[in-house]
């Protein structure tokens, strides 16, 4: 300053100003571009999934006039035993044959019968079981159509031709006839939300996987968030700062990089083989995912604990608060938003994970909707994975629909956490 006059300084500042402002603009531009990129990625993924999956929410149903003919059924009374071997297939077949009386020949009849979902038989049985008085009567019912029919009908709206796939030209003709006469109708697919998995696409639902996911996540959340936060608090606030703590820190960071399937191996060894917990259970899944998400939660919790200014700790300590009180009353509330972020990301990861679940038997075909954390169950991503791997064409849209359900769960879960986080956030 002794040798720089004020004007000189001013000149130098002015000289660089334009440049600095350009940099500022570029920097800001990068910021906007980054966010735009991220948001765009979200939108692209969403539109992709929704465009593929939305059609799964409707389902083609077929109307049939069925007669509960005791002769066809081969039963006299409606009781459990007779129902078990009653020939409901025959009832459906009769109904179809009556609708298309001039179909003959084994092959053609087979084609004809395949218009209706194989699940129709069971629906019929349940109906008769619930209303025994129907025996001998005739009624008009809607059944799920077969998945091939469904695929064809849906493709009709896309193009004149429609996608035949395995459907023969003759069958397509029948379908068109039925469609024209209103005996075939696209309806909201309730099955998808009420059923468990099925190998028949038209019977397959997301309910079991959804419940499985919820149970698993519940276990994970209940364990991983408190444990993660507690561990972070201990390490950040109580543990003496020495080489051991460093080791633990490195060790936790390292756990985050352990491939998730290895957690599956660990879970298999500990929870299933040693503690003899049941396979395929949300309890074990939750435990494994807890181990997997812990590092994420611990790391983010520590980061946010670190970012609480020491002056606040000092102020509280100076008031005679014990360390525990300092943490619980001052540090934790301030660090909570960051911890919630960790939880959001950790839980999102847990919600989407399949690999470790393979080892503990959750990559499985499970029809029955689980009703507790020890019932066999699968989870949404596994369901998606399994459907994505299925040959049936109709599973393609269901895969996307399942992804939509998963995202809906994710968004609901996040919304709660984000709302909480927003409430807790403050700058000082």
């Amino acid at each position: 300053m002794t040798d720089l006059t004020q004007t000189q300084v001013r000149e130098r500042i002015e000289a660089r100003l334009a440049n600095r402002h350009r940099k500022e603009k570029i920097f800001r531009g990068f910021g906007i571009a980054s966010i735009a990129f991220g948001v765009l990625a979200v939108l692209v993924l969403f539109t992709d999934i929704i465009s593929k999956g939305s059609s799964a929410f409707v389902q083609t149903d077929i109307q049939l006039q069925v007669t509960y003919d005791p002769a066809t059924l081969g039963i006299e009374t409606v009781d459990e035993e007779s129902l078990a071997w009653a020939n409901f297939d025959g009832v459906i077949r009769n109904a179809l044959r009556e609708r298309f009386p001039d179909v003959s020949g084994r092959r053609d009849k087979r084609e004809l019968y395949s218009l209706v979902s194989s699940g129709a038989v069971f629906e019929l049985r349940e109906r008769l079981e619930a209303n025994p008085e129907l025996l001998g009567k005739t009624e008009t019912l809607w059944f799920n159509a077969d998945d091939d029919v469904d695929t064809y009908v849906k493709s009709l709206s896309d193009s004149e031709e429609g996608f035949l796939g395995r459907t023969s030209e003759q069958k397509a003709e029948w379908i068109r006839t039925l469609y024209a006469s209103g005996e075939l109708e696209k309806r909201f697919n309730t099955t998808f939300f009420t059923n468990g998995d099925s190998r028949e696409p038209e019977q397959a639902g997301i309910r079991a996987a959804l419940m499985g996911s919820l149970f698993t996540l519940l276990v994970t959340l209940i364990l991983s968030f408190p444990i993660g936060v507690a561990a972070a608090i201990y390490l950040e606030e109580f543990a003496p700062k020495n080489r051991w703590t460093d080791l633990i820190e490195v060790n936790i960071n390292n756990l985050a990089a352990v491939p998730s399937i290895v957690f599956g191996l660990l879970g298999l060894a500990i929870f299933i083989n040693f503690f003899e917990l049941p396979r395929s259970a949300p309890l074990v899944g939750g435990l494994v995912l807890t181990l997997m998400t812990l590092p994420t939660i611990i790391i983010s919790s520590r980061a946010s604990l670190k970012s609480v200014p020491p002056s606040i700790r000092e102020a509280a300590m100076g008031m005679g608060a014990s360390r525990m009180q300092v943490v619980l009353h001052h540090v934790l509330p301030l660090a909570m938003p960051g911890m919630l972020t960790g939880a959001i990301i950790g839980m999102a990861q847990a919600l989407g994970e399949t690999a470790p679940l393979l080892m503990i038997g959750m990559v499985a075909f499970i029809v029955d909707v689980p009703s507790g954390i020890t019932d066999p169950s699968t989870v949404l991503p596994v369901q998606i994975f399994l459907w994505a791997d299925s040959p049936e064409r109709a599973f393609v849209e269901r895969t996307s629909a399942a992804i939509m359900v998963l995202l809906a769960v994710l968004i609901t879960m996040n919304t709660c956490a984000v709302w909480l986080r927003k409430k807790l956030e403050r700058r000082w």
């Binding site: 699940g119 395995r166 190998r199 028949e200 003899e276 396979r279 499970i366 066999p376 399994l386 040959p391």
Partner: protein, 327 residues
């Protein structure tokens, strides 16, 4: 106590066991079996761990049980009942937008083996020099060789190697001669797949391969017949030895690349876990695995009728498998 049947094993057999499981549970009072897809080897490991309610009752396999696995089973007190349930065709397919391929197993061998007989005709091996299909066989198109197939860890790949590659490999007499003289050399010639990028290890998701093929008309893909069956609008199967891969041609064995599928049953569990017998009865019933059964609908190629009967009796009698030679 576990009151549902637990099934593990091959991802190839999974679609078939699951259908049966579903039908079984809907038509009986038993709980739906839980079917895990763990891969053949993984399934065997779980299955042969021992007996008791924490171990699986059945395992699916897309290949026959190995001697070592059988020994492990037996060592752990597991008596195994073998049930061959049908066949799976392995197809080579390309996009519908491209021309269909007509290949021989020899073409396949030459295109995909790591080392091939010297093109000059001498009885020596050279690193696979072929870049395009035309190089392999002048009647084929001049596309770059690009085959999407399963990784070495997959059962499908094993079957493909054994049936398609070895089948072509054997066509060279001097190599075939080695089978008796130097078995190792023979296998290493016939079974090694090239690793220079022409063969792309594409994972085990067959739908993905189908979609990749649709996007890339020059590529061929290797996958199970059921995927061809369901995606006839996107891909077409290549003719092998003049045979189109169809349900019929695989069933009557004229299409050369198909492999057997198995389910193994733990004999000791039959009286312990409710429903095993009934489940197997459903599995081996005509409406399931028959020629017009629902398994065939799902793309499984049924066994010939006499063999079906034989297997069914075997299952009913629960004859344990003691040594593999007796096939």
């Amino acid at each position: 106590a576990r009151d549902h049947i637990s099934i593990v094993g091959s991802s190839t057999v999974y679609p078939f066991t699951t259908v049966v499981a579903e039908r079984f549970s809907r038509s009986t009072q038993f709980k739906t079996p839980v079917v895990e897809s763990t891969g053949t080897g993984g399934g065997m490991k779980l299955f042969c761990q021992g007996v008791g309610e924490s171990t699986a009752d059945l395992t699916g396999a897309s290949r026959r049980i190995k001697q070592s696995e059988l020994e492990m089973c037996n060592d752990n007190g597991v008596d195994v009942v073998e049930v061959q349930i049908g066949y799976d065709g392995i197809v080579l397919a390309n996009a519908k937008t491209a021309k269909p391929f007509a290949l021989t197993r020899k073409d396949i061998f030459l295109a995909l083996a790591k080392d091939v007989p010297n093109p000059d005709g001498s009885e020596s091996l050279v690193a696979n020099p072929y870049k395009t299909w035309k190089d392999v066989n002048p009647t084929l198109p001049a596309h770059k060789i690009e085959v999407l197939g399963p990784p070495p860890t997959s059962g499908t790949r094993d079957a493909f190697v054994e049936l398609a590659m070895e089948g072509g490999c054997k066509k060279y007499d001097w190599i075939a001669a080695k089978k008796s003289s130097d078995k190792n050399a023979y296998k290493s010639i016939c079974h090694n797949i090239r690793e220079d990028g022409a063969y792309v290890e594409a994972g085990e998701n067959d739908n993905l391969i189908v979609n990749k093929l649709a996007a890339n008309p020059n590529a061929l893909g290797i996958f199970g017949f059921s995927f061809l069956d369901q995606n006839a609008d996107k891909v077409q199967g290549s003719l092998i030895e003049g045979q189109e891969p169809t349900f019929e041609s695989i069933a009557d064995n004229s299409y050369p690349v198909s492999r057997p599928l198995f389910v193994y049953l733990k004999k000791a569990h039959v009286d312990v876990v409710p429903g095993i017998k009934q489940f197997m009865a459903e599995f081996t019933s005509e409406r399931a695995w028959g020629e017009e059964g629902y398994l065939a609908d799902k793309g499984m190629i049924p066994l010939p009728t006499p063999q079906r009967q034989q297997v069914a009796t075997n299952v009913r009698k629960l004859n344990a498998l003691t040594n593999l030679a007796a096939k």
